[in-house]
């Protein structure tokens, strides 16, 4: 297996190359550190605050209004698969294919770095995003995610990545230009290239293309948020079309004392911890099913945001009070089983070992490690095997899991009924 090569360019860009000549295709991803969480920054010493959704808006604009017209359509006409995506802390512009890789890379770098904002085009870009927001309103997962952030986050202004209609209306030429000038600069970017490509040619193209981008203006600094302990609100219920109620219990964990490598370790430990205590084969899960407290299984997830980690536990519920009681009791007094830890550890090593099946699977974990944990290496089998059960116990026991918020999607209430908060 080839190693991933890291190159720090003179202009500040960080380049990662992973050659795999067994493959026919190459995969290119240009990543800017500008995502849904970024609301505050300093440009030329002046503090700026922006509404939600700007990063996502810029992604759309940069793909649709380049010197080549729509960059996505242009790349697709070159028989490449292309797209963009904005998430919590980054925006990605990526393509893959077996042909035209070098030309497309040059175009991508030039296009993304030579944008002009025009009022009419800004309004045009917003149309598809309004539709995307509308679609999101019908999506239970997205509604729950937004709700959990509203209940938990006191200082961090992040709710979701695409913002609201009101946020979108605030975006004009001035705001778009400001954010573009601030965030789209080589020192704030990473370029990942994987698969079958000519290393020397690619390096030449990257160097040359970046020489032709617009000059970067001024100094720039992203604000880091510090989220205090405690939650903002204990519970929230929304009504939307659903067969059964869905409930999420969300915890906020303080991870500020952990170094990047420790946060990465916690990422694995949390998965093991949750699987052990509320996963499908756990005693609690069986109890919840047998007593008909839930329908189906409990699902769980976690996300790292600045100095905290949000853990969410979700299920389709029949008996709310019992569900909340059982889950919170289990998490507050968890079990630890060495045999299970070793089982999960083995599963993870198998997964990591076989990852190089697909080139994007080699690169995407590295991207996540960089942007989530500020850790510039991908997961390795050696690293996973180094984790110990004792360490796992110690770290998980250091979190108290005593404060949580409840988000609920309830069946739509008919006009002549009142919505009842069962916790009152």
């Amino acid at each position: 297996m080839s190693k991933i090569e890291k190159i720090k360019m003179e202009n500040g860009l960080t380049l990662y190359l992973y050659e795999d000549k067994r493959r026919h295709a190459a995969f290119v991803n240009l990543v800017t550190q500008f995502g849904g969480i970024h609301h505050d920054f300093t440009l030329n010493g002046k503090k700026q605050h922006i509404p939600s959704g700007v990063a996502h808006f810029l992604e759309h604009y940069l793909l649709e209004h380049t010197m080549y017209g729509s960059l996505i359509n242009k790349l697709k006409s070159m028989y490449l698969s292309a797209n963009g995506v904005t998430s919590l802390n980054k925006t990605e512009y990526y393509f893959s294919g077996v042909t035209n890789i070098e030309k497309a890379l040059e175009m991508l770098i030039k296009a993304v770095h030579n944008i002009h904002f025009i009022k009419e085009k800004i309004e045009e870009t917003k149309k598809a995003i309004y539709e995307e927001i509308r679609m999101g309103e019908d999506n239970k997962g997205r509604r729950l995610f937004k709700m959990q952030n509203e209940l938990l986050l006191k200082n961090i202004p992040y709710r979701n990545t695409i913002g609201t209609n009101e946020d979108l209306k605030k975006i004009d030429v001035s705001l778009a230009t400001l954010c573009y000038e601030a965030f789209y600069r080589p020192e704030n970017e990473y370029l990942f290239i994987a698969g079958n490509f000519d290393r020397d040619k690619i390096l030449k193209i990257v160097k040359k293309s970046y020489q032709n981008i617009r000059p970067v203006k001024g100094t720039f600094k992203i604000k880091k948020y510090k989220e205090p302990k405690g939650i903002k609100k204990e519970k929230e219920i929304i009504h939307m079309p659903t067969a059964e109620d869905i409930l999420t219990i969300t915890y906020k964990l303080d991870v500020s004392k952990l170094k990047p490598k420790e946060k990465l370790k916690l990422d694995f430990y949390l998965s093991y911890f949750l699987k052990m205590n509320i996963g499908r084969t756990s005693e609690l899960s069986k109890k919840l099913e047998q007593n008909k407290i839930i329908i189906g299984s409990v699902s769980y997830d976690h996300i790292f945001i600045e100095n905290i980690c949000i853990v969410s536990i979700k299920a389709t519920i029949v008996k709310e009070k019992e569900f909340v009681k059982e889950i919170t009791k289990q998490i507050a007094h968890p079990i630890f089983k060495e045999e299970l830890f070793k089982l999960y550890q083995r599963d993870t090593t198998l997964e990591v070992a076989a990852r190089c099946e697909y080139i994007y699977r080699m690169i995407n974990p590295l991207i996540e490690n960089i942007f989530t944990f500020s850790y510039e290496k991908r997961d390795t089998v050696k690293q996973i095997k180094s984790y110990s059960y004792e360490d796992f116990q110690n770290i998980m026991k250091s979190f108290s899991f005593d404060e949580y918020a409840i988000c609920k999607i309830a069946k739509k209430v008919e006009k002549n009924e009142e919505a009842i908060d069962i916790y009152k």
Binding site: N73, D138, R280, A354, E357
Partner: protein, 414 residues
């Protein structure tokens, strides 16, 4: 050994194994078919406890065992898939043990007095009930449900769990187990392996196991892959309904008049023109030009007999969306335009062919399709699409008949 097919490929890191049991579905078995896969992948006879089963999976280095139902025309398959890392990746040779465990899970599921375990069955039954009810609360699934209820009310073409939900209360775990036995018990399936492994070891392991089980060849296998929607719809059906969603959904259904199986090739070309990367006419019209969608799509149902075009829109933009779709279809009658589109499609296919070699899964599926002769083999389709001429497309489009328009209007968004 008949029914065992193996292909070596050293370019990947996993060994893929698929086992197919063919069967024909009767309407009264629809819910059993839906529940059955979930009863077979969490436990087996030797490991009736889910946690112990999970430990065994890990011990054998098994990433995953999955079960599903594959439908090709009127032919159904109960399909099992096993994925394990190969020896060069994990430095252990897992294949023999993993295969035995896999076959044990298939032929010796966890059963109690001739039925599947009650707890797991009740859990899956409740989940199915929830999923059926949720069809009415999700715009995409509700849209599909409405369309098929109008196109095929007697379920001559597609049988849906939703239309048989009244059977759910009476369904027992013994019913599902009996259904399983009809398909699997003592039957010899089609077995496929792909990856980097020793063929001799695999063959010996499988042969010994199946001999021990005393499986027999299935009765002559004559698959009924035909999947054409041939019902005549004389007058266009129009469905309009208001629902409490934020978005609205517009769907056009076109039927190909006097469709034959060969039409699948032309319809695939057109589908690519409508919504594949290189041309993507629908997105270019409805999103780039008109700005009225975030997403739109087209798909083929029934081997060249039906084309669905769908757009997620704001309710006020219905007329504009309809006009946009109709303009796109008109483009396909223009020879000058089709010449350009067809050239792009063919180039895209040539490149896709190369790129598919990077995906173990794509190569594996193609291998299975060639052997099972499902008629939907991607390589055969590619070859035929490369021979299509401009006049084939422009003449073909004239045979499109719009048989249904469905508009689910979201009431929530003002």
């Amino acid at each position: 050994m008949k029914n065992l097919y193996m292909k070596k490929d050293k370019n990947f890191n996993t060994i893929l194994v698929r086992i197919l049991f063919p069967f024909i579905l009767k309407k009264e078995d629809i819910l059993k078919k839906t529940i059955l896969p979930s009863m077979l992948v969490y436990t087996n006879e030797k490991n009736p406890n889910e946690e112990d089963f999970r430990k065994e999976l890990s011990k054998h280095g098994i990433f995953t065992i999955t079960a599903s139902i594959i439908e090709i025309g009127k032919q159904f398959f109960l399909s099992f898939t096993l994925i394990i890392p190969d020896k060069k990746t994990i430095k252990e040779d897992l294949l023999e043990d993993a295969l035995c465990f896999f076959l044990d899970t298939i032929y010796h599921p966890n059963k109690v007095e001739g039925a599947f375990e009650e707890r797991l069955f009740e859990k899956e039954k409740r989940r199915l009930k929830r999923d059926i009810e949720n069809v009415f609360h999700n715009i995409t699934s509700y849209n599909n449900y409405k369309i098929w209820n109008f196109l095929d009310p007697k379920e001559e073409y597609i049988v849906s769990s939703i239309n048989h939900k009244d059977q759910l209360e009476q369904l027992t775990t013994k019913d599902v187990y009996n259904f399983y036995e009809k398909i699997v018990y003592k039957k010899k399936p089609f077995i496929f392996l792909y990856g980097d492994f020793i063929k001799k070891t695999a063959k010996r392991t499988i042969q010994n196991y199946l001999e021990k089980e005393k499986v027999v060849f299935p009765k002559d296998f004559h698959p009924i892959y035909q999947d054409m929607f041939t019902k005549e719809i004389e007058k266009e059906i129009k469905i309009e309904e208001k629902k409490p969603f934020n978005q609205s959904k517009l769907t056009y259904v076109y039927q190909i008049k006097e469709a034959t199986r060969e039409d699948e090739v032309l319809l695939n070309c057109i589908n690519r023109m409508l919504s594949y990367d290189a041309i993507d006419l629908l997105m270019k019209k409805l999103r780039d030009e008109l700005g009225i969608v975030y997403t739109t799509s087209s798909r083929i149902i029934g081997e060249g007999s039906l084309l669905f075009i769908t757009a997620n829109i704001y309710k006020e933009n219905k007329k504009e969306a309809e006009k946009g779709i109709e303009e796109v279809i008109e483009l396909l009658k223009d020879k000058t335009k089709v010449e350009v589109f067809l050239k792009e499609v063919k180039e895209e296919i040539k490149i896709e062919r190369i790129q598919r070699n990077d995906s173990a899964n794509a190569l594996f599926n193609n291998y299975i399709e060639q052997i099972m002769k499902t008629g939907k083999g991607i390589e055969e389709l590619y070859d035929k699409m490369l021979e299509v001429k401009i006049e084939d497309i422009t003449t073909f489009v004239k045979r499109f008949q719009k048989i249904l328009t469905c508009f689910i209007e979201g009431e929530e968004n003002e």
